[in-house]
Symmetry: C2
Subunit: 216 residues, 2 copies
C-alpha cells in the first residue's frame, strides 16, 4: 500500500500548505496590492509560523509569480477551446464574451490579481504576466492566421490584431469585475458591459474584414 503512493505523505502535506499560502494570499490581494502585502500577514491567515513561508517561497515576489501561472492556466485552457471552434464571426464573438463573463464569475480573485499586478510594483510579477500574455497573443495569432479572412495578411499585422484582441479581453474582464463589486453580477450595468464588449469586438472584426480595402 505504501510503495504505490505517488507522492508520499510528506510531499503531499507540503503541497497542501503551499496551496494554502497561495489561496490565502489571493484572498488578501482582493483589497491590496502585492507589494503592500506582508509575509506575516499571509502566514497568519493560513495559521502557520512566519518562518514556514521560506520552505515554499524565497519571498512574496516568488509567490506572486506562482499566482500568475495559477491564474492564467485556467483561462488559457478555456480560451484555447473557443479559438479552436469553427463558427461564424458573430457567434464567435458572443461565445467569447460569454466565456469571459463566466470566467470572471468563477475566478474573480484571479482576474483582479492579473489586472492589478500587470502594471504593479513588483518587477518579477510584471514580467511573468507579460510573458504569459505574450504566449497567449502568439496562440491567438496562430488561430487567426488560419482563418480565411486572413489571406494576404502579413505576420506582423496578424500579431498586432492578436494583441488588440488580448488587450480587449483583459480590459473587458476587468470591466466586469469593476461592476461586480459595487452592484451585483446580474445588474443592468453588468449586461451593459457585455453589450459594449460585444460591439467593440464586432467593430474590430469589421475593421479586420475591410482592412485591405483601406490600406491603399
Amino acid at each position: 500500500m505504501s510503495h504505490s503512493e505517488t507522492v508520499g505523505v510528506r510531499q503531499a502535506q507540503k503541497q497542501r500548505t503551499r496551496q494554502a499560502l497561495l489561496d490565502a494570499a489571493l484572498g488578501l490581494l482582493e483589497e491590496q496590492s502585492l507589494s503592500s502585502m506582508g509575509l506575516r500577514e499571509v502566514t497568519r491567515a493560513v495559521g502557520v509560523a512566519p518562518t514556514a513561508f521560506y520552505r515554499h517561497f524565497r519571498d512574496l515576489g516568488e509567490l506572486g509569480v506562482a499566482l500568475v501561472q495559477e491564474s492564467l492556466a485556467s483561462l488559457h485552457a478555456t480560451v484555447r477551446a473557443v479559438l479552436a471552434e469553427q463558427a461564424g464571426a458573430e457567434e464567435r464573438i458572443d461565445h467569447t464574451v460569454a466565456v469571459v463573463e463566466r470566467y470572471v464569475r468563477e475566478h474573480p480573485a484571479h482576474v483582479r490579481f492579473i489586472a492589478r499586478e500587470r502594471h504593479g510594483g513588483v518587477r518579477a510579477v510584471r514580467q511573468a504576466i507579460a510573458g504569459e500574455l505574450d504566449r497567449f497573443a502568439t496562440e491567438v495569432a496562430a488561430a487567426l492566421k488560419v482563418q480565411p479572412v486572413s489571406v494576404g495578411w502579413s505576420d506582423e499585422d496578424v500579431r498586432m490584431l492578436a494583441e488588440l484582441y488580448v488587450d480587449r479581453l483583459v480590459m473587458t474582464a476587468s470591466a466586469f469585475l469593476d461592476v461586480s463589486d459595487g452592484e451585483g453580477e446580474d445588474s443592468e450595468r453588468w449586461r451593459a458591459v457585455a453589450r459594449t464588449a460585444r460591439r467593440q469586438l464586432r467593430l474590430i472584426s469589421v475593421g479586420r474584414r475591410h482592412w485591405h480595402d483601406a490600406v491603399s
Copy 2:
C-alpha cells in the same frame, strides 16, 4: 507692495512643500505602488518631518487623488487640441500617436502612475482615475460625434467607440513606457510600438467607416 500679493509668502511656501511632497511621491512610485509607499518615506525624501505631511493630506490616498489630477490634467489639455483639429483620418492617427509618444517621453512618471494605480490597491485613487478617464471618454465621444463619419450612429455606439479609443491610448502609453525602461527611447522596439499603435488605431478607424455595412 504687500497688499497686491496674490497669495502671500505664507501660503506660497505651503504650496511649495505640498508640491515637493507630490514630486517626491511620484518619484518613489516609479519603483513601487501607492499602497506600499510609506508616509515617512515621502517626507524623508522631501527633507521634512513626518508630521508635516498631515498639514497637506489626510493620508496617502488623498495624496494619490491629487496626483491623479496632476497627471491627467496635462494629457487632457494636449489631447483636447488633437481632437479639435480638422484633418484626415490618417494624419489624425499619426498625430495622435506622436502626441502620446511625446507625452510618455516628457512625463514618464505620470504615465506609470496612472497605469499602475488604475487597477491598484487604493479604492479612492482607482475611482479618481476611473472618473477622470470617464470624463475623458465623454470628451472624445463629443468630438467623434460631430465628424461626418458618425452620421447614423447612436450615442451609445459613439460612446463605446470613444472608450475603445481611450483604452487604446492608455495601453499604448503604457507599452511605450515598458520599452523605455529596459531599452532606450530611440530603440527599434520603441518604433515598433509606435507602428503597431498606428495600425491598431487604423484598424479601428476602418471598422468605424464600415460599421453600418455589417450591422445588418
